[in-house]
């Protein structure tokens, strides 16, 4: 029973990782850029979630607005940060991205203050008996449901719509896609919008679980999401999702049974190193 409960906690954590890692792996697939500043958008989402909920009393509105606003900020980050340096080696974009991420922590501190902020009355805190005595707060259930719905929606978009098909074509062969009439820029903006909106959703969910947002809350996701997309095979959406859930579960059991040896982050990276030694291209990449 305890094992099931710890497994569930791991899947909740994994769902959050999945929402963050998705945007990162999409951007990598499309542009071959490691978008570290993605974690700043996660933090921004968290802040907007708390601030809008406190101002309006509606978490739903806050989630929706956070996703839309951060989605546009993501698009702007592509236009301002990456577009001018697309022709340069990817390393340049990576360094720019890291710089923006570090600067953003201080910008959050200047705008929102050095202290954490919290929900005035935290929503979704009631306990629900999921099955045979396993109690979860509504917020935790919401995390998993939201991740599931968003990812299902993404899957539909990718398979059933023109945008999705064009995106997949651009990932496989950008030049061929372009010569078939695909507008690559539209696709890039769309991917930044969707990926950033998902990161915002993750930020709102984390703010709900911890009742706390702070300027440095993106620090851990900034590198852990990188580990996840490497594990999943860079650019692979399915790989990133499975790696997210795996990592959530491994950390969950690890903090209980190996916590005195290695902390959560070290566990994640020990696992990453182990996997890369056996499968240098990630778990889910063929060849």
């Amino acid at each position: 029973m305890l094992a099931i409960e710890i497994l569930i906690q791991g899947l909740i954590q994994g769902s959050i990782y999945a929402l963050i890692a998705l945007g990162l792996t999409l951007v990598y697939g499309l542009l071959r850029i490691l978008h570290v500043a993605h974690a700043s958008l996660f933090t921004l989402g968290g802040y907007l979630g708390v601030l809008i909920t406190n101002a309006t009393g509606s978490l739903f509105l806050a989630l929706l607005l956070a996703m839309i606003i951060v989605g546009f900020v993501g698009m702007a980050s592509y236009r301002i940060l990456y577009y001018p340096i697309l022709s340069r080696p990817p390393l340049i974009a990576l360094i720019a991205s890291i710089g923006i991420f570090i600067a953003s922590e201080e910008v959050f501190r200047i705008i929102f203050g050095p202290f954490s902020i919290s929900y005035i009355s935290p929503p979704l805190q009631n306990q629900i008996d999921v099955f045979s005595g396993i109690m979860l707060s509504e917020a935790r259930i919401m995390v998993v449901l939201l991740a599931f719905i968003l990812l299902l929606g993404m899957n539909w978009l990718a398979r059933q719509t023109r945008l999705g098909i064009a995106t997949r074509a651009s990932v496989v062969d950008p030049d061929m896609a372009m010569s078939s009439g695909v507008n690559v820029e539209t696709i890039r903006y769309s991917i930044f919008f969707i990926g950033s909106a998902f990161a915002a959703a993750a930020g709102v969910m984390v703010s709900l679980l911890n009742n706390l947002v702070e300027p440095t809350m993106g620090a851990v996701p900034s590198y852990k999401a990188l580990a996840i997309i490497v594990l999943g095979g860079l650019g692979s959406v399915r790989g990133a999702l499975i790696a997210s859930l795996m990592l959530g579960v491994i950390e969950s059991f690890g903090t209980i049974y190996f916590g005195n040896l290695l902390d959560r982050d070290s566990l994640a990276f020990a696992f990453l190193i182990l996997v890369l030694m056996i499968r240098p291209k990630g778990i889910f990449t063929k060849g």
Partner: protein, 383 residues
């Protein structure tokens, strides 16, 4: 071209420095390194407000033997690689008479070594690493060491609350580890059995797995080390999972922010700390009132500690009557002062001797629960 530019900039800087030097001829400079950016910026902000309040209070009462105190503030980002050069700058360039750390252990240790080497007094306001005072005889600490508070925690749980089966949740840094060491050192004396211990990193805010495990451990009490930004989420997640056993923390929780984050879950949480919110002492009351007026939010442990450290220095300056560093050092060592965090005196190593305050959350505020004044139990190491 570049050379002339450099020369003119230098000339400007020199004249600027000279004019500042003249303007401040009658002030006594105290160096203050504090994290104002980076992950510790929130604590740094509180510490700075507390230190500034102390300086304002001293100056409003005529200063030290007629001279005004001046705080020379530097942002050390809680990082040793920042604080070490800042310490050199404070000593050589600003020529401070003494330094105070409003920062964390890593940065304080690095600066303490440099102050000690240069025979300039240095007081750690709330950094807890044992090696800080071992840097030399010019280094003092006005807050409890982790071990001391850990021992007080064991007495609170084992003797005062009568809880015997205890789960420990330990923050995996120098603060958490030294608290855990002090706690474990006293478990036998107070009949405590540690039935499980979990460690977490300072970056963790999500404790789902540990909470699930503790539910099945079913302890009598939980001894959890942490800061308000880790303990807030931890306590709210423990209570949300239906775990209602007593949670005992330490001065790291000691902020209104903890109550804000954990909300109703914070009710009944007890901590070992050095600030008594319900103290009738006019000194402490003046601090609590002055701080919330100045900062716009309620006082916390970090602020009280920085406030205390500055007052200790001001008191020693007044008693030594000169700016000579050796006599100032001796005056600090001979301190016997009532400050916002209680009656302060030092042992041979420069560690503070004072009572431990137990505070409890009631109706959304920290309140007095009890005091532990047991000089043997609370004796800091003296070498």
């Amino acid at each position: 071209m570049l050379k002339t530019l450099q020369a003119s900039v230098m000339a400007l800087l020199i004249s600027l420095a000279a004019s500042i030097g003249i303007a401040n001829a009658d002030t006594i400079k105290i160096g203050f390194n504090v994290p104002l950016t980076g992950f510790a910026a929130a604590d740094g902000q509180s510490a700075l407000h507390g230190a500034e309040l102390a300086v304002e209070q001293v100056n409003a009462n005529g200063g030290v033997n007629g001279d005004a105190l001046e705080l020379v503030v530097y942002d050390d980002q809680a990082s040793p690689k920042e604080s070490a050069p800042l310490a050199i700058k404070m000593i050589t360039q600003d020529e401070v008479v003494a330094g105070v750390s409003g920062s964390y252990s890593g940065s304080t240790r690095a600066a303490a070594t440099i102050f000690a080497e240069n025979n300039v007094p240095y007081i750690s306001a709330y950094a807890i690493h044992p090696d800080i005072t071992r840097a030399g005889e010019y280094v003092f600490r006005t807050s409890f060491m982790g071990e001391v508070q850990g021992r007080a925690g064991a007495k609170l749980i084992g003797e005062m609350l009568g809880a015997k089966r205890v789960t420990m949740i330990t923050l995996n840094n120098d603060f958490g580890i030294s608290l855990a060491n002090g706690f474990k050192e006293q478990t036998d004396n107070f009949g405590i059995e540690v039935i499980s211990e979990y460690e977490y990193s300072i970056k963790d805010r999500e404790f789902g797995a540990i909470v699930s495990k503790i539910k099945s451990d079913n302890p009598d009490a939980i001894y959890a080390s942490g800061y308000f930004f880790t303990a807030g989420p931890l306590v709210s997640q423990l209570r949300a999972a239906g775990i209602d056993q007593p949670v005992i923390g330490q001065e790291g929780y000691d902020s209104q922010k903890f109550i804000e984050i954990a909300g109703p879950a914070s009710e009944g949480v007890m901590i070992t700390t050095s600030l008594d919110r319900d103290s009738s002492d006019p000194m402490t009351q003046a601090f609590i009132e002055g701080f919330s007026n100045k900062a716009g939010y309620p006082a916390d442990m970090v602020a009280a500690s920085a406030h205390t450290a500055i007052l200790v220095l001001a008191d020693a300056l007044a008693r030594s009557g000169s700016l000579d560093k050796a006599s100032l050092r001796d005056a600090i060592a001979a301190t016997d002062l009532k400050a916002s965090t209680g009656q302060i005196s030092f042992n041979a190593l420069g560690e503070v001797k004072k009572d431990v305050q137990i505070q409890i959350v009631r109706d959304g505020n920290w309140h007095h629960h009890s005091v532990i004044s047991d000089p043997d139990l609370l004796a800091p190491p003296s070498e």
